[in-house]
Symmetry: D3
Subunit: 151 residues, 6 copies
Amino acid sequence: MVDQRFFEDYEVGAARQTLARTIGEADIALHAGQTGNFHPHHMDAEWCRTQSYGQRIVHGTLTFSICVGLAADIVNPRAISYGYDRLRFVRPVFIGDTVHARVTLKDKREGAKRPRHGIVSEALELVNQHGEVVLVCEHLLLVERRPRPSS
Amino acid sequence: MVDQRFFEDYEVGAARQTLARTIGEADIALHAGQTGNFHPHHMDAEWCRTQSYGQRIVHGTLTFSICVGLAADIVNPRAISYGYDRLRFVRPVFIGDTVHARVTLKDKREGAKRPRHGIVSEALELVNQHGEVVLVCEHLLLVERRPRPSS
Amino acid sequence: MVDQRFFEDYEVGAARQTLARTIGEADIALHAGQTGNFHPHHMDAEWCRTQSYGQRIVHGTLTFSICVGLAADIVNPRAISYGYDRLRFVRPVFIGDTVHARVTLKDKREGAKRPRHGIVSEALELVNQHGEVVLVCEHLLLVERRPRPSS
Amino acid sequence: MVDQRFFEDYEVGAARQTLARTIGEADIALHAGQTGNFHPHHMDAEWCRTQSYGQRIVHGTLTFSICVGLAADIVNPRAISYGYDRLRFVRPVFIGDTVHARVTLKDKREGAKRPRHGIVSEALELVNQHGEVVLVCEHLLLVERRPRPSS
Amino acid sequence: MVDQRFFEDYEVGAARQTLARTIGEADIALHAGQTGNFHPHHMDAEWCRTQSYGQRIVHGTLTFSICVGLAADIVNPRAISYGYDRLRFVRPVFIGDTVHARVTLKDKREGAKRPRHGIVSEALELVNQHGEVVLVCEHLLLVERRPRPSS
Amino acid sequence: MVDQRFFEDYEVGAARQTLARTIGEADIALHAGQTGNFHPHHMDAEWCRTQSYGQRIVHGTLTFSICVGLAADIVNPRAISYGYDRLRFVRPVFIGDTVHARVTLKDKREGAKRPRHGIVSEALELVNQHGEVVLVCEHLLLVERRPRPSS
């Protein structure tokens, strides 16, 4: 859904929760293929049986991409991502897990270098079907400021 | 290629460069599909023509995933990613760009909490066909320590 | 297989049955990705457990696309689809179901507006492994008429 | 975005427009693969050059699936599709076209057979970058009625 | 299309030609992903510009798979592939090429070891839009023999 | 990993083993889609239950493509495949099987027609999780010779 918002419209503390989705084996296959990352942690079910988790683990880059994608269900064409901080894979994600994202607006500040934009920082958390946080990160957005009426 | 390495085998300052690959429109289509991120910056060529870059931009999560995937051409089953810091999208990536990664071992330290593992930090940079850095981040790895012979 | 046929070659009442195929979780993942339709009925296995069917349901647009695709095993380059009527999802399709299509030629008529084409109407039915019809629709085709010898 | 709505909340005449997306060659390749529909109208660029449109045409089932997917950006877990009427491919869709959907609520009525649900009918139109309608259909939804307080 | 045929029904010398299809960049992306083969001949457009062909080449394994797939438009459930001989990549296949297959039945013989099956050998050729053969191979099939009436 | 090697650097008898990967249902779905090969041996789980193997079999062209892809983890830009001999599907591969490749350098010889290249022949074997060989073939490579210093 489109939601046109200027920097001034973001409220610190606002929180929302996204839809959930189940991650399947096909998601791993496609992501391995798209990235070329065929690490045995993700692709070799036999070897994984001999490791501590006992099964394949979803790629961190996929878990992260899905988290960001879930949070992108509301599209603001006036905002663009410019980075992420403190991305951590807190718990493993397994084939068959169902995850949703929580988005909390943590901070907003005017950018010294860019007078027409502000910087918004969101905390993203990905949560599995047991209510456990599996991934956290801080998302940095550059958002257009509301144009001032010329006087 | 598999390269079994313990924490002790990593050398600070070691650097390498990966193969390059060209990012196509199919990559954007697949990544939008895998993440559900259909933001017009990535999917709407008409609207992008009216914006500053004049064309579609590759998803940040895809650029990042490809960077990590390129660096995963050497597989060390004794290492596992646990996070990334200071991920920044320095320049836009466009359809048709050809990118490769540079990996530099920045730091290694023993983990206080995990006596059998050490923490290795790599600087990842993704570079386009003009030699411009388009993405940077810091990759954090947990690596098994070499078992000590029991005395 | 190619089968060149003019409007005059279609026989009302002719019926055939296609090959069958099993629909997997990957099909749902790809279709959600291609359409951007991540409705929890298709994507959220946990929530589906709390609903009447107890499990995920294949997208109606995918079921329909597969039905049409199965019926397209015989390719007539002289025919083109121009629409469908009374498309109904009669029963849910689940992951793991095996479906085949039945195609029955229902009607043919000359088009008033297009003297060189006729209109053919086929009944399509998609049938699951229990012999139950899961989807019905009426397929409308525009087919070239056989050229008349100039006298 | 989730938007919980009962049958009583739908307003006849309400209209909205979705985001737009550009259809690429990869979309055709994936849809052909998913449906098994390799008709030369979609897959054979050489032969298409000899036909009236001069280029490949996007599968009707894909155009339809994308139209429905665009309209599914607002998810109402209380509604489920049960069919479509009068689906027509009004104009061809080509590789590189950018399309968006228009959704207009046309009609709502109580279902005789299902006392706890009502039937909602939406007009869907898919519009290309030239403002031309390329596909129309009528979407039929079964929507939960608001529970009555027991007296 | 299904075509039930016993070993006795195959005629040496019978030849047919399949539909054609255009190979796109998406096909390369998907095949690289499915096989993990990211060789610069297929994936790095910049480097390929410095090589003799001047552009990316379709994976040999993809060209071969497409050739076999085109020839599989007629499905005989009584036959199964058991191998291929003398597979040669005669000319490079480029993105945008349109190819079709020619299938010629070369030989049939009874298998000494398997009294209920015969061996059929087909010559497969893949031909591009210039009429040039790009791939040849010999396909070996194990086909059920017609059951003898018990006397 | 890139490993620049001239013809002179190849040693007859050298052998190596690749990483392993698990083949999933998604791999079959994608390969059927990419090739158009929807043979019931691969796609119809119900019918397969009535056949000798009792379950679906991975496409031979996919098994072969995965074998070649696994062996392509070491990339030599000075080598190019020109063909394969005696490709045999020794045992069926099923959904869920985990396979790795063994590569043995069998032979090298100077090519009469191409003074600047030599021909290298590798034996490829694909091995499943029970240690059984499922596919064998002979891979033919054209490799650049080391340039001679001009005297």
